[in-house]
Amino acid sequence: MMDRLSIVQKTVMSIFLAGMALVVVIPLLFFGTVAFSNAAEMSEFPKSLFPSSTVTVRVEPTESGSYEVFYDSGEGYESIITTKDAEKLEKHFRRQYSVTLSGEEILADFSQTLENGPMEFTYKKDMFYNFKQFFSIVPNAAEALKNSIVVSLLTILISLGIGSLAGYAMARFQFAGKEQFNVAMLIVRMFPVVGISIPMAVLLIQMGLYDTLLGLALLYSVPNIALTAWITNSIFIGINKELEEASMVFGANSFQTFMRITLPLAFPALAASSMYSFLTAWNDTISALILSNENQTLALVVYKAIGTTSSGIQYAAAGSIVLILPALVFTFIIRRYIGQMWGGVEL
């Protein structure tokens, strides 16, 4: 009864929420469309909300024995290219329409117009053309994908290994300087990573780790060790000591207790903090920019792809979908643990 809304309030609320949903969903839809669009669609205006799966061209034979190809980019058919060269046609169809057919096949189709006069031809688009293009245009994209995975895993490993030990120590033991240690960890966590990226580069050069994946992971672990310590600390405090003691009473040693009781109970915290570690490493571009040269990560590669090509942005879009997917999957898998982290929000 306290929560009852008047019709006006209900309407305003619905409109607001619907607006919010549209603001989130529409850009994403267009973004997906871009990643699956061919070059011709990219230059079309107005844009369509969904990508097409086929391309239709109109072909007229010319007196000189060539074919004139017309394409409709929104304002009626326009003449695009006049040729009878198989190679030219093949290139044109691949680049402009993402249609991967050999020039001979296209010519064979077009030759029908010699008898029938002007005709329309519909071809199936290669939907994943942009993705293939991304990996072939950007020379080290496949390598970069592998690098990103390795760097992320290394970051998770380092952060969890070192951070959870500290979290456990802070939760279970009283020791001198605990308060100061807590504040120090907070400062490290807040400290902008850019601030140490450049001197870190110098340090890594000295250690022979510059432009290595381990070097990047070492940098990404700096804020994440502190974050992991903080998250695991609060979870270890929440795990009742008596649960551990019960296990000891029934004859387990400390190691067995930790492995069988403490670790499984702390799993949500570990999952959540590894997600933060993963995302830091996976999404970062500025530190990667500073600390790497040859061994680039996927985020960096995609970032560079935007900078260089404003015409081929659909390839960069395809690349960034490759970039998003692992992060999305990872987030989805452990989202219920994230909910627990924020005090049990139902997600």
Partner: protein
């Protein structure tokens, strides 16, 4: 408890006398200390050293700061960062608060909507940049939408925006990305708020607005201030979207300058110095915000404004 179990328990229990267990916490903390000594303190110290030495390696107190202050776009970078931090935080907070209040109501589809609202959070900044870039170009999807709903008659040219307008665009894009994470914190706070707290106010005659203003908001206040400062710290370090959507030097920010000197004009001695000095400045600003945060959160504890 029998004697034998008592002994077994004391080996795990809070260490009191055994010197071995007194060492344990330090053993567990040793890796962190070593790690941070090497990979945090060392870079920080050498970074600070760079800031206070000139190109010849001689000590200078303000030389590099002068260099920075006189460098291109310094004033713009400072002003834009300040404007961005203040406006984006306020905007994102208000939006997140309204969304959190609406979505924590119980109605059909609330969970689905919550899921939708959270999607932008999972999208990599680079991808966000591309997404908006494809929208903002002249024949992009934003103009498509505006034309189709007859809000404009001619396509607008967003990418030519300059100065404050450009900053405002970066703010809007940032808002799209960041609002969900703020919203989650607030929803967590709202869910933690006992229903009876609101009901009590309602039975004693408070209306909806009074309940929100007098009960809900003050109880959420500790978590709101904490997350505002966190947000502020992140906002100060904005750069990626600005560079990826607008390009370098179009919307200068503090961290954008660092990236600029590292990425665009590397190799020049002064640009390294400038990058160091900008990092130093950014760090100081962030640390100031952290200190404010510590003060505020400490006050919250003293006042006894606990949540449950």
């Amino acid at each position: 408890m029998s004697k034998s179990t008592g002994q077994a328990a004391s080996t795990v229990g809070i260490p009191k006398k055994s010197s071995f267990s007194r060492i344990i916490p330090y053993v567990l903390l040793a890796p962190v200390f070593i790690y941070y000594a090497v990979f945090w303190l060392l870079p920080v110290v050498s970074g600070v050293k760079e800031v206070f030495t000139d190109l010849n390696g001689d000590f200078t107190l303000v030389g590099n700061f002068k260099l920075m202050a006189e460098s291109d776009l310094f004033n713009e970078a400072v002003m834009n960062t300040a404007a961005f931090a203040v406006i984006s935080v306020i905007l994102q907070y208000l939006l997140a608060l309204v969304l959190a209040v609406l979505l924590s109501r119980k109605f059909k589809g609330a969970k689905l909507l919550m899921f939708v609202a959270m999607i932008p959070m999972a999208i990599t900044p680079t991808a966000t940049a591309i997404l908006w870039k494809t929208g903002l170009v002249r024949d992009g999807w934003i103009n498509t939408l505006l034309l189709q709903f007859h809000l404009i008659s001619e396509p607008l040219v967003f990418m030519n925006a300059e100065g404050f307008k450009a900053v405002l665009m970066v703010i809007l894009i940032d808002t799209w990305t960041v609002t969900p994470s703020v919203m989650i914190i607030l929803i967590a706070g709202l869910q933690g708020l006992q229903r009876e707290m609101k009901e009590a106010a309602y039975t004693f005659g408070a209306n909806k607005w009074q309940i929100f203003k007098d009960i809900v908001l003050p109880i959420l206040k500790p978590s709101i201030t904490t997350s505002i400062i966190m947000r502020l710290i992140a906002a100060i370090q904005v750069w990626a979207i600005a560079v990826m959507v607008m390009g370098y030097s179009k919307t200068p920010f503090l961290v954008e300058r660092i990236a600029f000197y590292v990425d665009v004009v590397p190799g020049v001695d002064t640009s390294t110095k400038l990058a160091f000095t900008y990092s130093f400045l950014t760090t100081i600003v962030v640390l100031l915000a952290t200190v404010v945060y510590l003060k505020v959160s400490h006050k919250g504890v003293q006042k006894g404004g606990e949540q449950a």
